[in-house]
């Protein structure tokens, strides 16, 4: 078995600004996605999503052979996005993460917002974009492979970036080791997703949502940008010996941006945000909100009901 194909951050790993910001933004975002998913799926809504979540758990019992006698299993974020659509996939992933946190001690409760953001929102979006853009054309198999691989690598990079930003010391050698593991896991997930989607298309073709034939370059650029941002964020954080300090600098910039928006509240700021801890948390929340808004806008563009 491969060591990890998904990083479930436990409690006690993230610094307070990081988990607080991701809880405050990630969890309400899922509330919005839940409303969208309810509108999109007409039939068998909650039972379908719940049973598909149970399927993802059960599918982990199926061993997929990888080279040299090792085996891996399906992570499932990309498969869910392709079959149910991104909003519903996010809801299913959130339900899975909640059950894993409460029942299986896989991932923390305070860190639930972070895990939901990494796997349930960013991972699903990273899977949906290539599928939506190229899933209908000649490059369908490549698009599905990219969906599986990107969902794993984007969530893993985000998780590592959050750990580094929280000051968990990871030496470059250890980081290189992790990146290799994630790259292998991502490639394996891509191959498995392609094989399983092909199987589903053969057995029950009506289930797989067909991506629209028309391509939108704006989306492609935004998607590529988001993926790059995640990757670069991780690498920048890694090359810096002290992730916390690096994040501090970023938060300072974000804090200044928030000040621009919060000018009427300027005189209260000194009193309310006097403690560096609170202003850090506030700046972090503002930054995450910004990212969240971009995600929502992207998601809205990507999930617009198709005319076909």
């Amino acid at each position: 078995m491969l060591p990890w194909d998904s990083v479930h951050i436990p409690d006690g790993f993230l610094s307070t600004p990081v988990w607080l910001a991701l809880d405050v933004t990630g969890l309400p975002a899922v509330g919005l996605l839940a409303r969208r998913a309810r509108r999109e799926l007409e039939e068998a809504r909650a039972p379908l999503l719940g049973v598909m979540g149970a399927f993802v758990f059960a599918a982990q019992m199926i061993n997929f052979p990888v080279a040299a006698g090792t085996s891996a299993h399906l992570v499932g974020g990309a498969l869910l996005a392709i079959t149910l659509g991104p909003a519903a996939a996010s809801v299913v992933m959130t339900a899975i993460l909640a059950v894993q946190a409460f029942v299986f001690q896989d991932g923390g409760i305070l860190a639930l917002g972070a895990n939901v953001f990494n796997m349930g929102i960013a991972g699903v979006l990273a899977a949906w974009l290539p599928y939506r853009l190229w899933g209908a054309g000649r490059h369908r198999r490549t698009a599905i492979f990219a969906a599986g691989a990107l969902s794993v690598i984007v969530s893993a990079l985000l998780a590592v970036s959050e750990l580094l930003a929280s000051g968990v010391p990871v030496r470059p050698a250890a980081l290189a080791f992790l990146l290799v593991v994630f790259a292998v896991s991502a490639a394996v997930e891509g191959v498995i997703t392609v094989a399983v989607v092909r199987g589903i298309e053969r057995l029950s073709p009506r289930i797989v949502r067909h991506a629209t034939p028309e391509r939108s370059w704006g989306l492609a650029v935004c998607g590529a940008g988001a993926v790059l941002l995640a990757a670069v964020g991780g690498l920048v954080a890694s090359t810096n010996p002290d992730g916390l300090q690096w994040l501090g600098g970023q938060l300072d910039i974000l804090g200044r941006i928030t000040n621009l928006f919060a000018a009427p509240l300027a005189e209260y700021r000194a009193r309310w945000l006097g403690s560096p801890w609170i202003s850090k948390a506030a700046a972090g929340t503002a930054g995450a909100l910004l990212v969240g808004l971009i995600c929502v806008a992207l998601g809205r563009a990507a999930t617009r009901p198709r005319s076909a």
Binding site: W4, G31, V99
Partner: protein
Amino acid sequence: MHHVVLERWSRGESFLHARDARVKVLVLLVYLVALATTTPMTATAGACYAALVAAAIVAARLPLAGLALRAATVLPFAGTFALFSVLAGDEARALSLVSKSYLSAAAVLTLAGTTPLPKLVRGLESLGVPRFLTLVIQFLYRYLFVISEQAQHMRMAALARGGGSLRLAHAAGAAATLFGRSYARAEGIHGAMLARGFEGRMELLAEARLGPADVLFLLGGAGLATVLRLAMGTLA
């Protein structure tokens, strides 16, 4: 399977089992926040926080050793990053990572071991979690067993037919079959539930009501964790 034991624990009887789910969730959150914000994590602090969880486990009449063993599921992950921290020359951080994640897991287990999942989910719902999400969680948990059993049957069938080591295409076929069957089952479930008057809400036999003991437990539990946190130094 893992959650069979937890399910049995959660149906027990004790002062903690009888408390309202909302109150238990709130006390857990206060405890987790107190633990997460304690820096540096000293041995004294660790012992105090551990004593608090241990007291809750004993009060709930849960097996202390069994629960301690179960909470160890976080150790492979925590241990890896603790090793990275030691390699980077930060032993204090390594200890803090392991102790905080382990104690957090034990605390969450104490909640899950004293609260049946339907009650826990209903509690989360009345604390503001959207009902659609709590419904999905309930269906997921309800069919976790059923679908897993089906996967096991399929595996057995493959073994009986000489499919000990599957090729990728075979494994994918098995996953696709399981997917199709789960999908069809979900539609059947939904139809059957609609026929029985399902209106988008799981009914409990009795609605939870906050009693004086619940309020007392909330004040006591949250108060203890807060006092412990304040005794361990001010906010960093």
